[in-house]
Symmetry: C2
Subunit: 419 residues, 2 copies
């Protein structure tokens, strides 16, 4: 019986050409978030199950979590999100850490769900979190970082829209209306659907499921677009620094139970794909669940699948950024593998990345293979070349060939790499 060659359902193999896209995207993410002073951390992909049971949200924990018992009878889960792990880590060194604390990570996350566009069982997610800043400056910075990432990839502000809301304000209204826990869940779920259905249908759902007074007050709240003080200041502050594509939207609620105040989502404005790409918000209570004094926190998560879809659909993935990690193929003429090591070592010491064809095949087959591999240059080494210390460098795209010294080869190839 043969084993299947497909990866596990809903997950991806990263062949080198896929991995290069990921490395390019992660490189830009790291550069932008580090320019704002964020430092990278990581945590294990397995966590004790309880870490998610507390606040991750019922749908994820009961339906989407990869959880099992280890051989010692301990219940563990593969992380479906990073926020509980980072809160655990901050709590573990609550006193030793310096605030404001800026941390980021690009973990892979797992959720058991039906694979579809933009949603897979395994995806990677940039997580950016700012700990220790209570004020609006914290919310503003986090949104600014999210915006800088998209513009750094070359996006225009017209390509996406940032919608912000305050969950604290919504909770206050829930309290005033004395909504039960079940009603809160129901209402939050309904609000989350607002952008996907038409207004009449939306209002009817409220009237069907809640008593008249509650439905009326909730709808009045949702239909009022007056910016409350904090939000108005946040939106104005962002516009002042050029983030003019930000707006207030009372229907933004986010799926996790732990958000306490500001939440935001970033929408693709492409009419073909007009949906939420990623988002975040303030969750001041999570660190405190681990038995320490709470730390005000605001952050966001950005998934690699939606980011890549966005970059592709807006024409922002340039092939130049995705060049092969190898500068030249080396083709050996005759049985000179050992003797060729000296010049090859010298080229490598100068930063040239070389793939030697040590297959022992005929010259033609070696050249054909070099072209197939996508490498741009081939270097030919035989007895004569070694004796003269002059080598043929062939540009495999143009078919041009030059006889060059090792130094000349290195400078030609290094120039090419940074073109």
């Amino acid at each position: 019986m043969n084993l299947p060659t497909q990866p596990y359902k809903g997950s991806r193999d990263f062949y080198p050409e896929d991995k290069r896209v990921q490395k390019y995207m992660f490189g830009v993410l790291r550069e932008v978030v580090e320019s704002y002073g964020y430092q990278e951390y990581d945590a294990p992909i397995l966590e004790p199950f309880e870490v998610y049971a507390a606040k991750t949200g019922e749908e994820i924990v009961s339906e989407q979590l990869y959880s099992f018992e280890d051989k010692g009878g301990r219940k563990v889960a593969i992380r479906p999100e990073m926020t509980p792990s980072v809160s655990r880590m901050v709590a573990g060194r609550r006193q030793e850490l310096a605030y404001p604390l800026r941390w980021y990570s690009i973990p892979n996350l797992w959720r058991y769900e039906r694979p579809q566009r933009g949603r897979l069982r395994e995806h990677w997610q940039l997580n950016v979190d700012l700990f220790g800043v209570e004020g609006l400056e914290g919310d503003m910075e986090i949104i600014q970082v999210a915006d800088s990432i998209l513009t750094s990839f070359g996006a225009q502000r017209s390509d996406y829209q940032i919608r912000v809301n305050s969950r604290a304000r919504m909770q206050n209204l829930f309290d005033e209306l004395s909504l039960s826990d079940d009603e809160r869940k129901l209402v939050t779920g309904l609000i989350d659907k607002k952008s996907k259905i038409d207004a009449a249908e939306f209002e009817q759902m409220f009237r069907d499921k809640l008593d008249e007074n509650k439905a009326a007050q909730l709808l009045a709240y949702l239909n009022d677009s007056t910016e409350p003080d904090g939000i108005a200041e946040l939106v104005r502050g962002l516009k002042d620094i050029g983030v003019e594509n930000v707006s207030y939207d009372r229907s933004i609620v986010r799926g996790f139970d732990y958000y306490t105040d500001i939440v935001f989502e970033v929408y693709d404005t492409d009419p073909e794909n007009n949906r939420s790409m990623f988002g975040g918000g303030r969750y001041d209570g999570l660190v405190g669940l681990f038995g320490v004094e709470p730390v005000p926190t605001v952050g966001f998560g950005m998934g690699d699948v939606t980011l890549q879809n966005f970059l592709v659909s807006h024409g922002l993935l340039k092939s130049k950024e995705l060049a092969l990690e190898t500068d030249a193929a080396v083709i050996l003429i005759g049985d000179i593998y050992g003797e060729a090591q000296k010049p090859l070592g010298e080229l490598r010491a100068q930063g040239v990345r070389l793939a030697v064809d040590s297959s022992g095949r005929k010259l033609d087959a070696q050249i054909k293979n070099a072209v197939k591999s996508g490498v741009k240059y081939a270097i030919f080494i035989g007895e004569k070349e070694l004796a003269d210390n002059i080598y043929k460098l062939r540009d495999l795209e143009k078919g041009e060939e030059k006889a060059l010294s090792l130094e000349q080869i290195a400078s030609t190839l290094n120039v090419r790499r940074t073109e």
Copy 2:
């Protein structure tokens, strides 16, 4: 009830100072293997269980594998090693790929075992594999890459020793002696213990567990150190290019069932830690298990925990390589968060990585925190500084302060980064 702050047993949290060590190590690994033409790939951390059942080795599969049923009733496992995944991927594109094919990856792997020095439940492992080269040149390159990695970290060849063996030769002897499958397992297990026990005890074990003739022939084979032809050529070839710390050792067998010929292990020569750090070998049959024509393959895996232990014990982890990702803390004098964004944006555009203290605390507390965070510089911004466009840059280690333009600040900090 409070949630615990410790990570799951046998796994590690990577606080930023730990992550910097990992990033430095992985950076060197990538640079070296790419200089030999290897390209990075990745695969999902979950694989169908069958992928390991075939050839990974009984102890790992029955005792150490993290496996479970997903919500759809499919049996899956968290990868304990990368070799089956990469073989699956090569098999999936057997015809489209260009050979020699050079691939590498740095995946995290999981095994359920009792945590101890050098062994954790989760670790990262560089995997380097060369597909499509049958000859000794392939074995030689793989060992050369392993050697280049250690010398690139600054190790001397006297710091480690490379021991090679041929499993094909051992299998031939097993065939000649008509050993049963159980006897083969028993003998391989005994040989693997050779370096850990004394010679008399080692020989006695053979005599206790096997008939006289078999024991005598196996011991005669193990005690004969004559280099057979292929090995002699490999050892000579490596010595010719400076890898003089390589030797033939018939007791090197490796734990996996899939090795078919050359195997090697790299030992730390430190008397405090004189043990195998990592190794690899030739496994020509694995790709063929996925229903395609087999591809000759040789490769190795190098774990992050043993590598880091080696670097630390030989004094090769330099603090210079582990500098903070942040160049300066920004201290705001007064309520000028919005106005400060313009000069901050200009500094970021010049590549300066800045962490703004937006906590609203007193100046003293902000400076104290900057020092605590480990950042080397602080930039002060107030109304006057904004009006003059001249800012104070304080060296937090030396206590020196200078009034500088944004360009002067950028050049001071960028010079420092690449020192």
